[in-house]
Amino acid sequence: MQRYSALALIRQSINGHKGWKPQWREPEPKRSYDAIIVGGGGHGLGAAYYLARKHGMRNIAVLEKGWIGGGNTGRNTTIIRSNYLFDESAALYDHALKLWEGLSQELNYNVMFSQRGVLMVAHNVHDEQSFKRHVSANRLNGVDNEWLTPEQAKEFCPPLNIAPGMRHAVTGAALQRRAGTARHDAVAWGYARAADALGVDIIQNCEVTGIERDASGHVTGVQTTRGPIASRRIGVSAAGSTSLVMAMAGLRMPLESYPLQALVSEPVKPIFPCVVMSNTIHAYISQSDKGELVIGAGTDAYISYSQRGALHIPMHTLEAICELFPIFRRMRMMRNWGGIVDVTPDRSPILGKTPVPGLYVNCGWGTGGFKATPGSADLFAYTIARDEPHPINAPFNLERFGAGRLIDEAAAAAVAH
């Protein structure tokens, strides 16, 4: 792999940057691989990388129907945090957060992981109870998360409106200082480049159209728009299309796919120092390195694969943003877009084996998959390589729904009483 560094950049600058090599090859698909990952997002590319790097596999393909990083990896608002309530979730997301902290160095690719802190704003007694429960659980789990008064919250994020007369006044906030944002495209590209260097074939414009199985039910390979490819291990990491791919193996999934919208403002000079989330009034905002305010909206009400949503959804989001940050009311929306999020009944992911031997699935991250990218990829690789889940992802199995062992982060955030 061509090493990236300041020195390399200077050297290339002198010869007109003609010496930069492709970050990944454009291979033709081979007839067979030891493992196939369906889906070239951060999770899938990362899984291929860790399979090669930690589990000694080399003959791996990532099949991407479009362009790598073009799904939710490239469409999210890049919030990274790990202050989840349940032990299982905290372990999962904190595993990811620890990998984020060294990811640029690991991949030799600056993913711009910026630990600016994520502030989750509380607006009523119920929010406070819920957030303090999070803070307490996180503290005992070794995950940083602290409770701030409204004044402390404003000090951390000066644009925040904490006027007591607000319709939903700020009553406090939970702050995870290690949390932050990263550059989403760079995550996909960084993993792709590093995986490619380890021999992984990244095959774009290659849509899986069927999953082949033998008489015992074990997978034997996939049909694709670029021909059949054999493999006895298939990992599906195709957020937004999981139900469709799994249906090819005869599996109905506990998933529904909803449009999720986000938007950015025109870029401005630094004004917003952190990430702020308000679940009660549905506002999620940070500022990108380019200066855009990056704002997450909610999901539309109905399932859809159209990668767009209705106008009233971002309108509602901007109502909340303007209420929390009235100085941004004159800022202008520059671009709005939509992704497709696969939502599970308990709002926690599914990461593990399936009833079909040789078929593994990584899905159901809902609106929060980006933050888990390195952790999820690492654990998915482990699961595929050993045909058994890592203890961290073991609870996130498909069987939990039938058994009633849900990991219900959404319910835990609960509702007003």
């Binding site: 109905r252 506990p254 529904e256 796919s257 859809s304 009944p345 729904f401």
Partner: protein, 89 residues
């Protein structure tokens, strides 16, 4: 914002409605007779297709009635709406 044809009231904007999920997910007459796998299917598993989808909507801020809509989940085009109990077109 979708324009949803309520079979009782006619075309109305989406904000008058509540989405009710996949249609024709039948709750067994005697749930006690359904095994765990079957009940898990009923509770959690959905077709979630890209393309034609039969789904329930309730005209929550109108007549209050539930009804079914056949909508393409890729184009958002609505092909038909029909009352609960009517067969899927």
């Amino acid at each position: 914002m979708l324009l949803i044809p309520c079979p009782y009231c006619g075309n109305r904007p989406e904000i008058e409605f509540a989405y009710g999920g996949e249609a024709h997910v039948v709750r067994a007459a005697d749930p006690g007779q359904v095994d765990d796998a079957g009940w898990t299917e009923f509770l959690y598993c959905r077709n979630n297709p890209r393309g034609d989808h039969a789904e329930r909507w309730r005209h929550a801020y109108g007549c209050g009635r539930f009804f079914n809509v056949k909508r393409n989940t890729y184009t958002d085009h609505i092909e038909a709406s029909y009352r609960i109990g009517e067969t899927r077109p």
